[in-house]
Each structure stands twice: as structure tokens, then as C-alpha cells.
């Protein structure tokens, strides 16, 4: 990475990132994903995980991503998905609370799901460190490698078989890689339109137009399979908070828009 990186940073003065400025490279490598980064920010600022100041955390999170870009590091999509989630929570907090909805809104603090995920993630992160600190076979602890001569001599045909499914599939893969293509025709039934393909298609479409109608996606190929795949792709996009879905009336057309487009203007 370029040597001007750190100076550049100091000039830019990203004051909230003091932690990153010293040994930034170490820190950058350290985050295993958006959850890890969020936990770090919460700990560094001594914030209460049960009452996260979403504006502060969102700003720091986005500055961190900016920093990654300054350093020309590839920002993984997962970090962007979390950025969108944070912004969404923030925007929901900014919206005036509808009096009718107020009762429900009290229960569903938009931060609850994030808090729950963070707490759960933290548990597993800690559990991972605990198990990783054990005396590991082949690292701190060893077994006897020399086979007993009496055992080596004897041959065995009736013992239980020891092999994993992964070994089996892998053997198949290795063999397929070895044989010429014409010897082999794949008869697997899944030579079809995948959910992943469909997600790509929807994302491409959303770059061209602001809203997309569900029917529009399936009109060319109105098959049961295509409808299901499209629907699952939409659900996935929704889960990733990349689109928002609307339905005008009961059983009416389903419309969707990119999730970030609806954010309020900068404060």
C-alpha cells in the first residue's frame, strides 16, 4: 500500500479514528466483518450496547469505510450492507412518530435487532477465542504417530468405514477436473435460473429504473419455477436491506425500490 497513506490521513484529520491512525494497517486487517467493526467502535467509545447512540456509531462506521477507501482497500459488500442497515435505523429514528403507531413503535425500537445481533455475535466471538486458546492437537499437544508393529501387520476388512461426505464430493470434483469435457454430460436437474442470477438481474434493473414491479420480472417466462425463484431473490434482497417492497392494495401488484433511495436528505 502507498507510503503516503498515513500522512494523508493526518491531514484529513479523521479525529474519531485515533485508534486507526496508529498502526492503521494492523487495525484494518483485524476486523473480520461489519459486526466485528461495530463491536470495536462500541468498546472504543465505551458505549452501552443496550442503548447504542446510532448517529455517533453510524458516522464512525462510515468514516471507517471512507478510510478503507482512502487506503485503496477493497470494501467488502458485507460492510456496505451494514452501512445501509445503520442508515436505515437512523432514518427511522429521524422520522416523526405517527401517533397511532406510537404504541407499537415503543416496543419495536429499530435498534433492537441490531443490538441482539451484536450481543449474539459477541458471544460467538468470545467462544471462538476460548476454544482457540485450548491446547490444540498438532499445535500444543501430539499423539503417537508410530504405528504398533503388531497392528501394522494385521489387515482389516470389516471395520467401520471412515470417510466424510466432503471427501466423496471432492473425489468426484477431482475426477471431473481430470477427464475431458466431452466424456461427460451433466445430468443434474439444476441447470436452471438460480436465485443468485435473479438477484443480479433485479439489481441491474434497479439501476435503470427507480421502481420495479414484480410482474414485470416474470412476464417473459411465467413459470412456477421462475416465480418462486424471483420471489426468493426478492426476499433475500429484502433481508439484505437492499430493496423495499410495497403493495398498493391487497392482492395488488408488488412494487419495489432500492432501499437507500428513500433516505431523507442530509441534515
Amino acid at each position: 500500500m502507498s507510503s503516503e497513506g498515513p500522512h494523508h490521513l493526518r491531514e484529513e484529520a479523521l479525529p474519531l479514528l485515533d485508534g486507526f491512525q496508529e498502526q492503521y494497517s494492523v487495525h484494518l486487517d483485524k476486523f473480520d466483518g461489519p459486526m466485528d467493526l461495530l463491536l470495536h467502535l462500541i468498546k472504543k467509545n465505551e458505549l452501552d450496547i443496550y442503548d447504542i447512540p446510532i448517529a455517533v456509531i453510524t458516522r464512525q462506521y462510515l468514516e471507517y469505510i471512507k478510510l478503507m477507501k482512502h487506503l485503496n482497500l477493497e470494501v467488502a459488500g458485507d460492510f456496505l450492507v451494514m452501512a445501509a442497515t445503520l442508515l436505515q435505523i437512523k432514518s427511522r429514528q429521524l422520522l416523526p412518530v405517527d401517533e397511532q403507531e406510537e404504541a407499537e413503535e415503543v416496543e419495536t425500537d429499530p435498534r433492537t435487532e441490531l443490538m441482539r445481533r451484536l450481543l449474539e455475535y459477541q458471544q460467538y466471538k468470545e467462544a471462538g477465542m476460548v476454544i482457540g486458546a485450548r491446547a490444540l492437537l498438532g499445535r500444543e499437544v501430539y499423539v503417537r504417530t508410530c504405528s504398533d508393529p503388531d497392528l501394522v501387520m494385521a489387515r482389516n476388512a470389516e471395520g467401520p468405514l471412515e470417510v466424510s461426505l466432503f471427501d466423496l464430493v471432492d473425489a468426484f470434483r477431482v475426477m471431473l477436473a481430470r477427464i475431458p469435457a466431452e466424456h461427460f454430460h451433466d445430468v443434474a436437474a439444476d441447470e436452471t435460473f438460480s436465485i443468485a442470477d435473479c438477484i443480479n438481474e433485479i439489481l441491474a434493473l434497479l439501476q435503470e429504473q427507480e421502481t420495479v414491479q414484480f410482474d414485470e420480472l416474470v412476464k417473459d417466462e411465467f413459470t412456477r419455477e421462475r416465480v418462486i425463484v424471483t420471489f426468493l431473490a426478492l426476499l433475500e434482497l429484502c433481508r439484505l436491506k437492499l430493496v423495499r417492497i410495497f403493495q398498493g392494495s391487497e392482492h395488488g401488484s408488488i412494487w419495489f425500490v432500492p432501499a437507500v433511495a428513500g433516505e431523507p436528505a442530509p441534515a
Partner: protein
């Protein structure tokens, strides 16, 4: 401590190619009482641990095995090439999630970690720490994963129940999303919706 039975058991465990379960030892030594065998095993383990020699008799992955005493690895690595069982933080996190939440799909692991886990999962499969248990009976039939016997061996765990307890999540009024999932079929009570048993014993 030097009864004939102890010597026989020690000899069996010493020559076995992998950990020997108590059941298998009893099966092999059908002329001896199960209780006597179990008592001998405990005595042997205590004896080796007490003498602080180069190796201990430990219970791991549901069986018994002689293993070098932790702390001596510096000397061992002088003569043998280690298989370098290195685990990155992300492997350990992923492994922890799979261990505590199995059977689990890739999507569920990724939801918990917030990142793509394909590469990590594949490397754990290659290291045989994780295995494919089958497919989940939901749309798309995703593969479900669990930890393997090798996982218990690598981490020196007697069984899944010996995993360190997760730090309690306090002050949560609602159950976390994943606790609504089927319970981990630990021990005898393997009645989960996933076919077959977990591969222990």
C-alpha cells in the same frame, strides 16, 4: 496401580490408532467387568497426570487417548513437522457458531457473523473440523453443517457438552432469533428433525 487389567487397557489405548471409547474397550475386553474397566481407566488417567511425564491419558472425542503434555510442544516440533492446525479468528468464530448452533446452514452462519463465510466454511471442511450433515427441509434445501469428531479431537474436547458455556446474554426480554431453532441434539436426546445422529460415538 499395576493390576493386569490396567496394563491391558494401557496397552490397548497405547496401540490404538485413534481414541478408544470406553464401550469399545469393554467390547474388546469382554472377559472383564465394565465397572472394573471404568475404574481402571480413571486410575490410569490419574496416575499419568500425577507423575507429570511426557504424556497423559486423556478423554477426548468420546474416547481415551495418550497425548503429550501441553507445554512440551517446543521440543516435539524440533523433530516432527507439525500439521500446522492454525485457525484464524474468523475460522474460530465460524467454528464456534457451528459447534453451538449445529445443525446450521451457511446462511444462518452468515447472518450471525454478518459476512460471507463460503471460503472459511470450505477450509473448515477441508480441515475436517466441520462436516456436511445433509440438507435442510426448507425451500432451496440448503446444506446443513455440524462439527466432526476431528473437531473434538483437535480441540481436546470430550464431547459437545464439554464446550465452554456461552456467556449469558442478560437483560434480553425476547429470545434471540436462533434460539427458536431446534435444540442441538446433544447426547442421548437426538430426536431433532435432522436425519441420523450427530457423529459422536
Amino acid at each position: 496401580m499395576s493390576s493386569e487389567l490396567s496394563a491391558i487397557i494401557e496397552c490397548l489405548v497405547f496401540t490404538a490408532e485413534s481414541a478408544l471409547t470406553t464401550d469399545r474397550i469393554c467390547e474388546l475386553l469382554h472377559e472383564f467387568e465394565r465397572d472394573a474397566i471404568k475404574a481402571s481407566l480413571s486410575e490410569l488417567a490419574a496416575f499419568h497426570s500425577g507423575r507429570s511425564g511426557g504424556f497423559d491419558l486423556v478423554e477426548v472425542a468420546g474416547g481415551w487417548q495418550f497425548r503429550t503434555r501441553p507445554g512440551l510442544q517446543e521440543y516435539v516440533t524440533r523433530q516432527i513437522k507439525t500439521k500446522a492446525s492454525k485457525f484464524s479468528q474468523s475460522s474460530l468464530e465460524t467454528l464456534a457458531i457451528i459447534a453451538y448452533r449445529q445443525p446450521i446452514t451457511r446462511a444462518e452462519v452468515e447472518h450471525l457473523r454478518g459476512v460471507d463465510c463460503g471460503a472459511v466454511l470450505k477450509s473448515l471442511l477441508e480441515k475436517k473440523q466441520v462436516k456436511i450433515l445433509g440438507k435442510k427441509d426448507i425451500p432451496g434445501r440448503p446444506l446443513i453443517y455440524g462439527t466432526s469428531k476431528e473437531f473434538l479431537e483437535t480441540f481436546g474436547l470430550k464431547d459437545l457438552k464439554s464446550l465452554p458455556t456461552l456467556r449469558e446474554i442478560q437483560a434480553l426480554d425476547e429470545t434471540p432469533q436462533y434460539e427458536r431453532q431446534e435444540e442441538l441434539p446433544l447426547g442421548q436426546s437426538s430426536s431433532g428433525p435432522v436425519e441420523g445422529e450427530l457423529p459422536f460415538e
